[in-house]
């Protein structure tokens, strides 16, 4: 069992290690502190943060409904939520274009109101939120579904209103899932490429996130691309690591009874 586990780990680590070996370490610092790279990184972090926020605002209520409410078509709804996971990101980008583009379903009326979404940072945020929402919803829903609904009933008999129950019981109990979902969503946002490329475009400081920059730099200078890729990996590891740090160790262990 351990052997296969190590094989699995190696499968993930070897390509990353190979990337690290490709990096020209003597020039690593100037490469990754290049203004264009920093601009792209900053944009990536800003948009990923915003997108994660959008995911939280839309995803947590969605997860709550999926895990708690009973209504016909719930299974279908759950499958639909997963669609962005299955659809290739480029196709997701096209779909967003058909919805929010200049001549899109919603984009056309917005355009008439003077709101342009494509080629803007807003488009980047939409693209990232679109592809990463399922990660958050899945995580939170899983966490909510495994929590005993009995806790919420007890809270109500103790006089807690539905809102109070949500804040004081449901959410704290779902916290581990919420955190891991948030981290997953953020990480997915950071790595988003296909949908952004198709829907948002590619302009320095506006829509050129780090993954897009890496792809562009690769055209002329593969070694610099490796350095930037490593920068992206480092940021992702930092974020994931921070979220799984000891201070967030779930205070909830199996309730014995």
């Amino acid at each position: 069992m351990l052997g296969v586990a190590l094989l699995g780990l190696a499968f993930i680590l070897v390509p990353l290690l190979a990337t690290a070996l490709r990096v020209d370490w003597a020039h690593f610092v100037p490469l990754v502190t290049d203004p264009a790279a920093l601009e792209a990184l900053g944009l990536s972090l800003r948009t990923a943060g915003l997108s994660t926020l959008v995911c939280l605002l839309l995803g947590v209520p969605l997860a709550a409904v999926l895990s708690r409410a009973e209504f016909p078509g719930k299974r279908l709804m759950r499958s639909l939520v997963l669609l962005p996971l299955v659809v290739p990101p480029v196709v997701g980008g096209l779909a967003l274009l058909y919805a929010f583009g200049r001549f899109g379903l919603l984009g056309a009326p917005l355009h008439a109101l003077g709101v342009e979404i494509s080629f803007s940072t807003t488009a980047v945020v939409l693209a990232q939120a679109f592809v990463s929402l399922p990660y958050l919803v899945l995580s939170v829903e899983g966490s909510l579904s495994t929590t005993e609904a009995g806790y919420e009933r007890v809270a109500a008999t103790l006089g807690a209103s539905p809102a109070a129950t949500w804040w004081r019981v449901t959410l704290p109990l779902a916290l581990p899932g919420l955190l891991s979902g948030t981290v997953l969503a953020f990480a997915r946002c950071l790595g988003e490429f296909g949908a952004t490329l198709t829907f948002a475009g590619n302009l320095e400081g506006v829509t050129r996130t780090l993954p897009l920059d890496i792809y562009l730099v690769r055209e002329t200078d593969p070694d610099s691309a490796a350095a930037l890729a490593l920068l992206l990996v480092a940021v992702a590891v930092l974020v994931v690591g921070a979220a799984h740090g000891p201070w967030l160790k779930p205070r909830i262990r199996g309730n014995a009874v």
Partner: protein, 333 residues
């Protein structure tokens, strides 16, 4: 304190029950599995899941109408003032014991420190003061259940529903819990769902028996079980009951003398029976028979017989036997 008055129907679960309870009293709700005890408890707290199990009828607690399906009144769970203590403690795993007990106090509008101080007092009262800082998973089943009791009481419910609170506890923990409940339920309007007559006798002023969703017997606990009004109450009390013309005759299975021929004069009453079954109970056996003729005709009667004696009798189903009861074992009313 409040008086409870209910007349509830849950058609989907065939519950149709009416009950009254004076303020400060405890009512034991008894009956076989599936009789509707837990459904009634959930209807009281307003926690029956889903629209499919819509509760109809009327429910008043003190001067407040909690439910009136005709007038469309349906007070939500959190505004009912009906507390719940269930079979499992369901302590909030993200809070320590004090935090759990203080939960309902916060809802009463108390500040955090005040609430926690009150919570500690309640933990002391249930004898769980030493676990104040403990996390739920660190507590034993009995300890957790006492904390759950403190939590339910600390919210100062007008009515406390206890749904088989001792069911999941071992014998020692159950005994301790019974003592705690006895003290704390003294002035609390409460409904105790249980299938143990011991719990009803030690904890409840009144008892109601549910059968197939209906209240088939109700009254002061001691009276109900010493002078059972019908066979449902008698069965729970472990008594045989024979009734005729408003007169009742109750006797314990252990007081029945079984014989092949008609009993002699030591038996004050004697019933010819046909054997239904013989069930081993350790040193004894439970002999179930159906009255063959006379006042007990058709009534199921139980006799506790020594296994030695039983082996000497013809106990094949349908075999004729006599059940005799000496005067000392009879209760007439």
């Amino acid at each position: 304190m409040s008086a409870l008055d209910l007349e509830l129907r849950v058609p989907s679960r065939r519950l149709d029950a009416s009950l009254r309870l004076d303020a400060g009293q405890t009512l034991a709700l008894m009956g076989p599995n599936g009789a509707g005890k837990s459904t009634l408890a959930a209807a009281l707290t307003g926690t029956l899941p889903g629209q499919r199990h819509a509760v109809q009828g009327r429910l008043t607690l003190g001067d407040r109408v909690l439910l009136d399906s005709v007038r469309g009144v349906r007070v939500p769970t959190h505004r009912r003032g009906v507390g719940l203590m269930a079979q499992t403690p369901l302590l909030f795993p993200h809070l320590d014991a004090v935090g759990n007990v203080a939960f309902g106090r916060r809802g009463l509008g108390e500040r955090r420190t005040t609430a926690r101080r009150a919570a500690r007092r309640w933990l002391d009262r249930v004898g769980a003061g030493e676990f104040a800082q403990a996390r739920p998973w660190q507590l034993s089943g009995g300890q957790a259940q006492t904390v759950a009791l403190a939590r339910a009481l600390a919210a100062e419910p007008e009515l406390l529903v206890l749904d088989e609170p001792l069911n999941a506890l071992d014998v020692t923990a159950a005994s301790r819990m019974r003592a705690v409940l006895r003290e704390l339920l003294a002035d609390q309007t409460a409904i105790l769902v249980t299938h143990e007559i011991l719990d009803a006798l030690t904890l409840a002023d009144r008892t109601a028996i549910l059968h197939d969703g209906r209240v088939v017997a109700a009254g002061p606990t001691r009276e109900l079980f010493t002078r059972p009004p019908n066979v449902f109450a008698a069965r729970l009390a472990g008594l045989n009951l024979v009734q005729r013309d408003g007169e009742s005759l109750a006797f314990r299975a252990a007081d029945v003398v079984v014989s092949a021929g008609e009993p002699d004069a030591t038996a004050a009453v004697r019933f010819p029976v046909r054997v239904l079954s013989l069930e081993p109970r350790g040193e004894h056996a439970l002999l179930r028979g159906a009255g063959a003729e006379g006042i007990a005709a058709g009534v199921e009667l139980h006799a506790e017989v020594d296994v030695q004696l039983a082996s000497g009798l013809d106990t094949a189903p349908g075999a004729p036997l006599w059940f005799g009861v000496p005067a000392a074992g009879l209760r007439e009313y």
